[in-house]
């Protein structure tokens, strides 16, 4: 996984509540067996007008946001389905960080698995950032994971909270499975104990039906 340390980048605003993962990446793009190439499906329906042409007013179609790496969003971003295709599609577009007042749990978690940082700021801070982006083309922010700060062009710094374990994994780009496998002995001992306490939990579904 790619490490995330400090990111300075252009900000793109998506001013809608409850953006669900069906909007981020509609179902027809979930048939892939790869993690890459999902940019084409990102906000597919919102990017288009009814006649199928590109909607010039949609933020991702505007030239000023083409190189954006930071997405500015509203409450409950990423609600709905667990599809990890949502962060994959955002990454494929170039986003490495999403700022919002709140996120849906599964989406929030999926971001960390992909070297992407979801940042929770207060509603007032997010509102101020929306106003900043609207006021000035080329609005850029610096996101400093180590210091847990978002710094505006004016020099204002917004502090954000993050779970220390998630922070460490993201900052160092650690392989989560590799970390868990370091505790393989402990998993083994847990299984042995549980097998005695609750043996029905260890009935193997590959056994013929009716076995045991």
């Amino acid at each position: 996984m790619d490490a995330f340390t400090t990111l300075t980048g252009l900000v793109a605003p998506l001013d809608r509540l409850n953006v669900d993962t069906d909007q981020i990446i509609p179902k027809q793009f979930l048939k892939t067996i790869k993690r890459t190439g999902l940019r084409e499906g990102l906000f597919y329906d919102w990017r288009r007008l009814k006649d199928g042409s590109q909607d010039p007013t949609f933020f991702l179609n505007q030239p000023r946001y083409q190189q954006a790496t930071i997405l500015l969003a509203r409450d409950n971003f990423g609600c709905g389905s667990s599809r990890e295709h949502a962060p994959w599609a955002l990454l494929d577009q170039g986003f490495r960080c999403v700022l919002a007042p709140s996120f849906a749990d599964i989406f929030y978690n999926n971001c960390f698995q992909n070297g992407m940082l979801p940042v929770v700021l207060t509603g007032a801070e997010i509102q101020a950032l929306f106003e900043g982006v609207a006021a000035r083309e080329g609005y850029r922010l610096t996101v400093d994971l180590a210091a847990q700060r978002v710094i505006t062009p004016e020099g204002t710094a917004y502090h954000f909270e993050i779970d220390p374990f998630r922070k460490d994994c993201l900052y160092r780009g650690l392989d989560a499975i590799g970390l868990t496998l370091q505790h393989a002995g402990q998993i083994e001992r847990y299984e042995q104990r549980r097998r005695t306490q609750a043996p029905w939990l260890f009935q193997d579904v590959t056994q013929p039906r009716g076995a045991l």
Binding site: D20, P26, K27, C79, N110, A176, I177, E191, Q203, T206
Partner: protein, 467 residues
């Protein structure tokens, strides 16, 4: 001894290792896999040279992409076919049990787990699918995960988690005639909002919940995620035990007795504290209909489409205006005046035998309106078989409903069952997001009884007073 909630008990039993900051390595008992969220996980295992730790704890089934028409014909969409074949290949390569497309046990992943007795009380259960919350109906801790975590569970049988908060949703009293678990959960989401449960595991309690069948409890827990909660649960009781007994993968003999004894401990102790409590009265719950593009945009069938101009909060007003524009609804119009084009009875929310029996009882002897196209998609091959043995398929067909093969179908329209732009659907599924059932399609979430009545009348009717 301290009083514990049901959630506390299951969580504590599954802690393999806990760090001082609360980061927990949680053991996972059961893992369900489907074709859409697993290929990249298997690819990751292969790339890292890892194998599944306990293939015997995993059950796989194709459901999202499968056609609901004749299965003897090859899948028309080559990309869907490839995803399904990839699942088959991965299951063969990694020694995982698969209920393939032509297996009578195939069906929607959250239908077949309980149906087989794969889902048991007290377990931790995951799946790369947000509606995994369904399995909480058995008093299990069950939640959806992303593909990276699917790979993590395959490789380690564990997940790294932080302990969530707990919320009690207590529903007391008797439901109005013909109101069901679907109306209860939609009313709960209407009350707490689509993010009200974020960060929480919900335990549903109270006399109304106790009176629900297992199938009703599954409907209820299924939509916990629509209220933002990754998991919802109901403490197991005699109803739970009676449902599980004798199922193919349920424990048998002495092991069964031992398991049932353990399950009796799976209740919230008197005096245990939840982090939040929400209360509802069953009598106040009318049959629910969503009018917008988020499950929290819901009201009783006796209500009206809301007027955004009356909303103080600017963001809420904008979201409501946008939803009404998408849904092509006029502020203030009665819900009963909304005319529909399609009806979908199915999905992991409402496609079990009880749902189909109820739907058939309302459809019997009546005809689907000429302007409506209606379909019934059973949750599994076994549900379909059971329904046919009971003659439900004939009732549906005589009424003008299509009778299909099992799968996710028009809940998310990944297969050929899709709404056309502008079409309006009364659906027993769980999400009314923009384009969910097809680009430009308009979804109203309702119970099976409400869906049948809408199919027959061509518009929504108050099922409580429908003859």
């Amino acid at each position: 001894m301290a009083a514990h909630t049901l959630f506390d008990k299951i969580w504590d039993e599954h802690v393999v290792r806990a760090e001082p900051d609360g980061t927990t390595l949680l053991y996972i008992d059961r893992h369900l896999v489907h074709e859409v969220t697993s290929p990249q996980a298997f690819e990751g295992l292969t790339a890292a040279g890892r194998a599944p730790r306990r293939p015997g704890a995993v059950l796989a089934v194709p459901d999202h992409n499968v056609p609901t028409t004749d299965r003897r014909v090859a899948i028309a969409d080559p990309i869907s076919a490839k995803q399904i074949h990839t699942l088959e290949d991965n299951c063969t390569a990694f020694g995982i049990t698969l209920f393939g497309m032509n297996d009578i046990r195939q069906g929607v992943v959250h239908i077949i787990g309980p149906e087989q007795g794969f889902t048991l009380p007290g377990m931790t259960i995951v799946c790369g699918d947000s509606h995994t919350s369904t399995h909480g109906a058995f008093g299990a801790l069950a939640f959806g995960i992303g593909t990276s975590e699917v790979e993590h569970v395959l490789a380690t049988q564990c997940l790294v988690q932080k302990r969530p908060k707990t919320m009690e949703v207590r529903v007391e009293g008797q439901l109005s005639p013909r109101c069901s678990a679907k109306d209860v959960i939609l009313a709960i989401i209407g009350k707490i909002g689509t993010a009200g449960g974020t960060g929480y595991v919900i335990e549903y309690t109270g006399s109304t919940i106790r009176a629900l069948s297992m199938e009703g409890r599954m409907t209820l827990c299924n939509m916990s995620i629509e209220g933002g909660a990754r998991a919802g649960m109901v403490a197991p009781d005699e109803t739970t035990v009676a449902y599980i007994k004798g199922r193919p993968m349920a424990p048998k003999g002495a092991l069964w007795d031992q398991a049932v004894t353990a399950w009796q401990q799976l209740t919230t102790d008197p005096g245990a504290q939840y982090d939040a409590v929400v209360e509802l009265r069953a009598e106040t719950i009318a049959p629910q209909v969503t009018w917008g593009t988020s499950p929290g945009m819901v009201t009783g069938v006796d209500g009206n489409v809301p007027d955004p101009r009356t909303m103080g909060d600017e963001k809420l007003r904008q979201a409501t205006e946008r939803a009404l524009e998408y849904m092509a609804l006029v502020p203030g119009m009665p819900i009963r005046d909304i005319k529909i084009d399609k009806v979908f009875i199915g999905s992991c929310t409402n496609s079990r035998i009880e749902d189909l029996r109820l739907a058939a009882s309302f459809a019997k002897g009546k005809k689907v309106a000429g302007s409506v196209h209606a379909m019934v998609v059973p949750g599994s091959g076994l549900v379909k078989q059971q329904a046919e043995q009971e003659g439900l398929d004939r009732i549906f067909k005589e009424s003008g409903f299509e009778w299909r093969e099992a799968g996710c179908s028009m809940c998310l329209a990944m297969n050929a069952d899709v709404l056309q732009p502008g079409e309006r659907c009364a659906s027993t599924s769980n999400r009314n997001f923009e384009g969910r059932q097809g680009a430009g399609g308009r979804t109203h979430l309702v119970s099976p009884a409400m869906a049948v009545a809408a199919a027959i009348e061509g518009h929504f009717v108050d099922i409580r007073h429908w003859s």
